[in-house]
């Protein structure tokens, strides 16, 4: 199966690879997927006092599409407010990266990672977690 140019581009030059301090109150961490499924994403956001995501980092164990989906997600997250970040839908990622049907789960995982990172941030800062509506796999 051939990969789209955008997947190749993100895969070859992944944006925002790295680690933020998970113990910091301003950092939210989402760790989703499972090694036995062949996909694990860790996505982290740093949020300032105005509720704006100032930094985002990821590390992903998975195929090229999973790596590209998480790389793209971090790119989109930076500069958004937390509320805006919640509106990122997996189908936006599918569209942007031209993912084929067998790779849609990669985008779902990226959306889950975003929501899970936001929830971690919310809970750390005394807010209720938002409900994760979508289930995958």
């Amino acid at each position: 199966m051939a990969y789209s140019e955008k997947v190749m581009e993100h895969y070859t030059n992944p944006r925002n690879v790295g680690t933020l301090n998970k113990d910091s109150k301003s950092v939210g961490t989402g760790l989703v997927g499972a090694p036995e499924c062949g996909d694990v994403m860790r996505l982290q956001i740093e949020v300032d006092e105005n509720n704006i995501i100032t930094d985002a980092k990821f590390k992903t164990f998975g195929c090229g599409s999973a790596i590209a989906s998480s790389s793209l997600a971090t790119e989109w997250l930076k500069g958004k407010t937390v509320d805006e970040a919640l509106t990122i839908d997996n189908m936006d990622i599918v569209e942007e990266l031209a993912l084929p049907p067998v790779k849609i789960h990669c985008s779902v995982l990226a959306e889950d990672a975003i929501k899970s990172a936001i929830n971690d941030y919310r809970v750390k800062n005394g807010m209720e977690p938002i409900e994760l509506a979508k289930s995958h796999h």
Binding site: M1, Y3, Y11, P14, V17, T19, L31, V32, G33, A34, P35, E36, C37, G38, D39, V40, M41, R42, K59, T60, F61, G62, C63, G64, A66, I67, V102, H105, D112, S116, S135, H136, H137
Partner: protein
Amino acid sequence: MELPIYLDNNATTPLDPRVLEAMLPYFTSKFGNAASRNHAFGWVAEEAVDYAREQVGKLIGCTEKEIIFTSGATEADNLGIKGVFEMYKDKGNHIITATTEHKAVLDTCKHLEKAGAKVTYLQVKSDGLIDLQELEAAMTEQTILVTIMYGNNEIGVVQPIKEIAAIAHKHGALFMTDATQAVGKIPVDVNADGIDLMAFSAHKMYGPKGVGVLYVRRKNPRVKVTAQMDGGGHERGMRSGTLNVPGIVGLGKACELCRLEMDEEAKRLSRLRDKLESALTKMEESYVNGNTQHRLPHVANISFKYVEGEGLMMAMKDLAVSSGSACTSASLEPSYVLKNLGLSDDLAHSSIRFGLGRFTTEEEIDYAIENTKKAVNHLRDLSPLWEMFKEGIDLSKIEWAEH
């Protein structure tokens, strides 16, 4: 050196130019039907087919009349297993095979289960070999066929064929082997090994695609299979259909070349394979899958822990290899062969198969080593699991989210 480098010779091999040369006249001037008995065009074709039978027979130690040409190993597996089941159903309905067989064998057995066959699927040990005591224990009076592959296509392990054949025969069953990966690569002799039926194909040994063989023993015992296709009664009534003369000529030539060059070639390939394997397993957390003593000379299957195989292959873009990761398939299930060795799913997802071949050079292997190392390191830098491993976190203790 040209890129990309082909290291997927267990999937298929390139056609040897000497094989192509032998085949070419049979597409054009010598186009006759080998079944045309009454003119020169037919005689020329028949003669070529007979000569190919001799070439095949010399490689595997059988006579010309024991060779049935098919469209490939999958057809040969189907014909052998279904043909024996139908021919010997008055004698019994039990077949023994193993969980790591090729799908052409496994799915044929599953098909026969619907037709009343009882099939035992032997588990393999963690090195990929079957347990002979388990085989012995599984034999019953109803057992008509034991079918165990010679060399495994994913991990390259070679089963103890002589011992398996002896157990089958002791209990009055026939022994069949899918030898697709072994014929032409290591010495295979149907008499020395005690094989009653054997399937293999040309395109795994530098011959053309679309042609294969089912060997069917004619003496001690005389084995018969029920034909699976109705038609003109070619191949002694066991496989109808006009013979693929150019393909068969190519198969014959491929067998001849393998026979003449096997000894040296196996030494050369195992040296290159060992070089590749020892360089790559010097990396942290990388493991060879399958028995390393009893195996084909040209296959290395290695798991690089904490990176995912398909992602890794993308980084090894100058290398054509394959992976036990099933990320490309809709099922998301990793290789059943690796899982049957008892490998955890994450290690199965992390595996790469390197298949060397006749045209693999040392320069290519050196390049492959560097390219693979670089890719593994790159992917580990991206891997949260690698980071956690490095921090000393026990990954098995983490509750992974919803799967």
